[in-house]
């Protein structure tokens, strides 16, 4: 599902970052890439704050909708 629709407070696994190369590189630098874990902390009108490792990243709704995530399998 797109990150924008992920449940608040639940750790998700990034499946795919569907963005242009420049945005993808920017996100990678901040630790958002496929395989990374992130937790949505708060939503404000589609814009959101996510926790990635030790940092908090704010992203707007367009970006959030282009990051596909899934629930982390509990046995992994």
């Amino acid at each position: 599902m797109p990150l924008g629709q992920a449940p608040q407070g639940e750790t998700m696994l990034v499946v795919r970052v569907a963005a242009d190369a420049k945005t993808r590189r920017h996100l990678e630098n901040l630790g958002i890439m496929s395989g990374a874990e992130l937790t949505p902390l708060s939503f404000a009108d589609g814009n959101m704050i996510v926790r990635v490792r030790d940092s908090r990243i704010a992203i707007n709704s367009d970006v959030a909708n282009n990051i596909l995530v899934r629930k982390r399998p509990c046995f992994a």
Binding site: M1, S42, I49, S55, A58, R70
Partner: protein, 707 residues
């Protein structure tokens, strides 16, 4: 690098961002060359409390790994010694992709390249599979057959994007094999407190009201003449003479000044004293009334005085902004305003430069450097003068005082407020128009790391403050000082040499140009009587012209043109007769013309220093001229509209009506276009979201089958 046949590669890695930087290492390891990995910036890693298990990492990488700190010169000798040893050995390249689905393909290409006796076949093979353009040019045959083979291999989760696939595989290997060697110190206690603060400060509903309140407090402490509204709400007055003089006010003045206003008065008192002393000195030396006295006292010193007069307030404003920036709050503000700004073609990042423009447009324009997107930077620069700067405040204050005396007693503050508000409103309209026409395109995506909240540190706050203030001090100190001398020259010399401003170059210019300003404020119906318009119109034009060079000159020039000491008017220290003469000149304007005149000053070219800054940031002569043209056009159009709307009841009402109707239609059309534009965008966003979630569901499904 690889083609130079090195004996050894030393791969220097930024250890503070280990995972990201080991990506290159995974590629380097594919070459058949001995490799040493040097972990740089280990001092910073230790300081942050993180730990790296260097021995463990060395085992995982399979090559020697050394901690160093280039900054402190630590570990360099050991690194060099080991490099000399290692360079004598041979090494065969190995790939972290060995367990991937695509590895058989890489192996086949490697063998093909090896047959041609080219060094480092594995390295080239991996690059070719990634689709690296330089490699494809070098091995056109292999690249071509690869293009044919790839579609037959079936799709992975990246479709046929092998570059992304290989990158992902490398990162996965890094996080499973190398990351365990990195132990991060947990900052969870501080972070969870920060998250709690964010629950309130970035709340869906409360974020904006809290932000407005904080901004109001900052502006109140910086610009208010009546702190906490003690006078207007509670009737508090200072009657004690000693106390009043300590506050730099007259006993019985309305209101206790805020910190910013007090600092400004204090500085004005100092520079005013300096001018008086030098004037007395020059009179004693027999220079009274000559151009020497004029140049030194009216040109140079008054110029410096008027530049310095608004510096304390701007510095105070920037100090508050720096403190807010240092606590981490400003990053949140960019986030909460992003959605609103997006509708006007800006991202939340543009907020800081625009806010700085309320102090001074020069540092504001220079702060647009932080905006990556070029269109957004241009748009921000073009809007910058509309956020009323510190040098314009005296103009509003002067007109507001006279309007309050003549028309609306006690509503002087409201006039000043209207000017600030008009600036913001026009900025929004202008942004929308520019976004729909000249600067089409969406603002860049908003991605920003939010630092944890922390108490402001004196040193870093001062660094932030200096970043903002240095441009103000340096540029205004040079450009504006020179501009003011130029204005002094133009207004003191004419055909007959040193003369009154009436006969000066500037005087002639004003008399000639006044007809150009008929539609915007100088028409006879802009004045209480026609005689007044004949006598005064050109003087307002001249003052507005000096305002294009430096806004702090407008009131001073109006004073000079009324035949009184302009600086004394500014500081409220003019004699009663002077003040009456000055008020009579300004008061001859109708309120509509006054507002139109203020609007012209607000929207036109802010000052030469700002033009210089804009030229520096736009990096193009053509674009700079476009910006200047845009400012003049906006100023002319807005003051035209204000003037005609204000003259609705006079004999020109027919024309006013026509103009008003056209404008209302235009605005309505514009608003409609913006609304529909926004709606379609939302619709497409929702569609994309739905498609993506379908995709996401499919992906989840596939994976569960595999499991």
């Amino acid at each position: 690098m690889i083609d130079e046949n090195p004996d050894l590669i030393i791969n220097i890695v930024d250890a503070t961002n280990l995972e990201r930087n080991l990506y290159l290492t995974t590629q380097v390891l594919e070459a058949d060359v001995p490799v040493i990995v040097a972990l740089n910036m280990m001092d910073a890693v230790e300081r942050s409390g993180d730990e790296i298990d260097v021995k463990g990492l060395e085992q995982a990488l399979g090559v020697p790994t050394m901690p160093i700190s280039a900054l402190k010169g630590k570990g360099i000798k050991e690194l060099m010694a080991r490099a000399l040893d290692e360079g004598k050995t041979k090494r065969k390249g190995a790939s972290v992709l060995a367990s991937c689905d695509c590895y058989p393909l890489i192996e086949r290409i490697r063998d093909t390249i090896a047959k041609e006796n080219i060094a480092n076949p594995l390295f080239h093979a991996a690059k070719l599979v990634e689709g690296d353009s330089a490699e494809c040019v070098r091995f056109p045959g292999i690249a071509k057959s690869l293009e044919e083979v790839k579609p037959m291999l079936g799709k992975n989760e990246y479709g046929d994007d092998y570059e992304a696939y290989v990158a992902d595989m490398r990162y996965r290997y890094i996080s499973s094999h190398y990351s365990p060697c990195l132990k991060r110190a947990t900052h969870e206690a501080r972070l969870s407190r920060s998250d709690k603060a964010d629950k309130v400060l970035t709340h869906r509903i409360w974020a904006i009201p809290i932000f407005v309140l904080i901004m109001f407090a900052v502006f109140h402490i910086t610009f208010s003449e009546d702190i906490l509204f003690l006078n207007s709400w509670f009737g508090v007055e200072v009657t004690n003479e000693l106390f009043a003089s300590a506050l730099m006010i007259e006993p019985g003045d309305v209101g206790i000044p805020s910190l910013g206003v007090w600092l400004q008065s204090l500085l004005g008192w100092c520079t005013g004293g300096l001018i008086d002393v030098s004037r007395d000195g020059l009179t004693d030396a027999g220079y009274a009334g000559t151009w020497v006295e004029g140049f030194l006292c009216d040109g140079l010193l008054s110029g410096i005085d008027s530049v310095l007069s608004f510096v304390p307030q701007v510095l105070l404003l920037y100090l508050f902004l720096s403190i807010l920036e240092d606590t981490g709050y400003m990053a949140r503000v960019a986030f909460i305003l992003d959605r609103a700004f997006r509708r006007f073609g800006l991202s939340g990042r543009a907020f800081m430069p625009l806010l700085m423009c309320f102090g001074c447009a020069v540092p504001g324009i220079i702060a647009t450097k932080a905006l990556e997107n070029e269109k957004e930077r241009r748009l921000t620069i073009m809007l910058s003068p509309f956020f009323s700067c510190g040098a314009k405040l005296p103009i509003w204050a002067t007109f507001a005082g006279i309007m309050a005396n003549t028309y609306w007693s006690g509503y002087g503050d409201l006039v000043v407020f209207i000017m600030y508000f008009m600036g913001i409103a026009v900025a929004i309209i202008a942004a929308i128009i520019l976004k729909l026409t000249a600067l089409k395109g969406d603002p860049p995506p908003f991605i920003m790391e939010l630092p944890a909240y922390h108490r402001p540190q004196f040193k870093s706050t001062m660094i932030h403050l200096w970043d903002k203030a240095k441009h103000l001090l340096v540029r205004t100190g040079t450009v504006i000082a020179v501009s003011i001398i130029v204005i002094w020259f133009l207004s003191s010399f004419g055909k007959g040499g040193y003369c009154d401003i009436d006969d000066s170059i500037l005087g002639y210019l004003g008399k000639g140009l006044q007809y150009l300003f008929y539609p915007v404020f100088a028409a006879p119906n802009g004045f209480a009587t026609t005689e007044a318009s004949n006598a005064y119109a050109w003087r307002f034009v001249v003052a507005a012209f000096t305002g294009l060079i430096a806004k702090e000159m407008v009131v001073a020039t109006l004073g000079t043109l009324a035949g009184v000491d302009g600086d004394a008017i500014l500081e409220g220290a003019a004699s009663e007769a002077d003040q009456t003469a000055f008020d009579a000149m300004i008061g001859s304007m109708t309120p509509a013309a006054m507002f139109a005149y203020m609007a012209f000053n607000l929207f036109s070219v802010p000052c030469m220093a700002a033009v210089g800054a804009a030229m520096g940031e736009l990096k193009s002569r053509k674009r700079s001229w476009q910006a200047i043209g845009f400012w003049l056009l906006t100023a002319y159009v807005v003051s035209f509209v204000v003037f005609w709307l204000g003259n609705f009841n006079t004999y020109m009402w027919g024309m006013s009506l026509a103009v008003t109707l056209i404008l209302v239609t235009l605005c309505a059309l514009l608003a409609w276009k913006v609304v529909t534009n926004f709606k379609t965008k939302q619709a497409t966003a929702a569609n994309v979201g739905a498609n993506e979630s379908a995709l996401g569901a499919a992906a989840t499904h596939d994976e569960s089958e595999v499991e």
